[in-house]
Amino acid sequence: MSVGASLRASGVVFAAAVFQAALFSSIVVHGGAPDVLLIVVISLGLLRGSVAGAVFGFAGGLVVDLLTLDTLGLTSLILTLAGFWAGRYAETTARGRRLPVLLAVGVMTVLASVAGLALHYMLGEDVVARQALLTALVPTLLLNLLLALPIHALVRAIVGERPGFEPAGEVELVV
């Protein structure tokens, strides 16, 4: 990843993290709020690969944890795994699929919610599974899916796609 692309990606992630903490988390629709940072991290994973997804996920999560004074590393862990998974998905099976970003965002929204619930529970915090998984998850999922395509397009326009993105398991036939 070039320096310019890294800087642009860092800017995008930083802006997404700040906007997520200051704005989007307060836009609650039917109990759920959009997770723009998650979508951005997934987009970066899909566009720039698993390592970039993991690194930017970690950084974005760290910014959110700092801004919200939450347990440091909690959001980082979830977004690291989300970005990594999205990158691996793009590197292996996403090629040729229609709208992989929608699938990735949908799956990762659900998994991130479950992981967040589990982590908070393990840390002994008061979590209401019904609120997190039933009340908030569905609207959050719908909002994320709604925002996934425009945000992915925006990230693609700003950061660009990694050139020579090769799926694994390639064989060369010589006649």
Binding site: V18, A21, S50, L66, T71, G73, L123, E170
Partner: protein
């Protein structure tokens, strides 16, 4: 076909060449680097979580977090200010969507609160009234040889021709026919019918009721009964012309007793105040008009006088 494996399918008659080993090595190194980076990040996140969780609010990491939050605060404030108009717009639109349901809910709450306020007001008035009953029962004006059976008025006259109320005590409470009924203001009437749990009280304003009374100031005797043609006005009848009765005099029950017989009403229960006195040459008696102390239209609770020697 497995990854990076060469094959030679005889049926096709083509040669399949293994991908050059340099690329294979490069891919292996890339995978290793990838795993190291991700593993390191996950490990770092776990370390951060552990430290943050263990250090609490005043640990070393909280200082780092606080410094980070302080450094990032200008950005958050900037975003907050930039996004405020959009947030307001969103809230405005959102409020439009929820305005109808909110209005319905608030309307229901207002109705509920109004009902409660009315009930509270009633309860307050009832409380004051019952307190007066209690004070009267325990006070010196309460007739001796009687105990008070407090009762709530549960039914009222259905029409203009029935001057009676139904109260929530009956024979189970020791109430019998012809027991006197009163309030702290004065005499209400007489029990005329009794069931185990309820009793019917004929009011003083009923035409069939007559009560021996005396002028408290002059001891002029007479009989208080309902004045024809009016709803809640009484007259003091059978007052001889030589008796002195003045406007403003207080009338109380006479309460006579002779041998084994006694008046239905104990002595000294207030009835009303004389509002006009008149006489003509042809009449044998004076015409004395009385305004009762009791507001018969606003009876909520009454006291039934039950003789102390009566078994319950």
């Amino acid at each position: 076909m497995p990854r990076n494996r060469s094959a030679r399918p005889a049926a096709l008659g083509v040669s399949v060449r293994r991908v050059p080993s340099t690329q294979h090595t490069s891919r292996g190194a890339s995978a290793l680097r990838r795993r190291l980076i991700v593993g390191g990040l996950v490990l770092l996140a776990l370390v951060l979580i552990s430290l943050s969780f263990r250090s609490g609010t005043d640990g070393s990491l909280s200082g780092v977090q606080s410094a980070g939050a302080t450094a990032l605060r200008p950005f958050a404030v900037g975003v907050e200010r930039v996004s405020q108009p959009f947030r307001d717009a969103y809230n405005w639109v959102d409020s439009l969507f929820s305005a109808r349901s909110d209005a319905e809910q608030l309307r229901g709450e207002v109705e509920d609160l109004r009902q409660r306020a009315i009930q509270n007001e009633f309860a307050l008035q009832e409380n004051a009234y019952l307190r007066r009953l209690l004070n009267y029962r325990d006070g010196p004006r309460f007739p001796r040889d009687f105990r008070a059976e407090a009762a709530e008025v549960i039914a009222r006259p259905a029409g203009a021709f029935t001057q009676a109320v139904v109260i929530a005590v009956g024979s189970d409470h020791g109430v019998r026919v012809n027991d006197s009924v009163l309030t702290p203001d004065g005499l209400v009437g007489l029990v005329t019918r009794v069931t185990p749990g309820t009793a019917r009280v004929q009011l003083l304003t009923d035409q069939l009721l007559a009560v021996p009374a005396v002028d408290l100031r002059t001891q002029a005797p007479g009989i208080v009964r309902h004045a024809r043609g009016t709803r809640e006005t009484l007259v003091l009848d059978r007052v001889r012309k030589q008796e002195v009765v003045r406007v403003g005099d207080e009338l109380v029950t006479a309460g006579w007793k002779a041998a084994d017989f006694s008046s239905l009403y104990p002595k000294g229960i207030p009835i009303g105040e004389v509002t006009s006195v008149g006489q003509t040459d042809t009449d044998l008696y004076q015409q004395v008009q009385v305004t009762p102390y009791v507001d018969f239209g606003g009876l909520d609770a009454v006291i039934v006088l039950v003789p102390l020697d009566r078994p319950r």
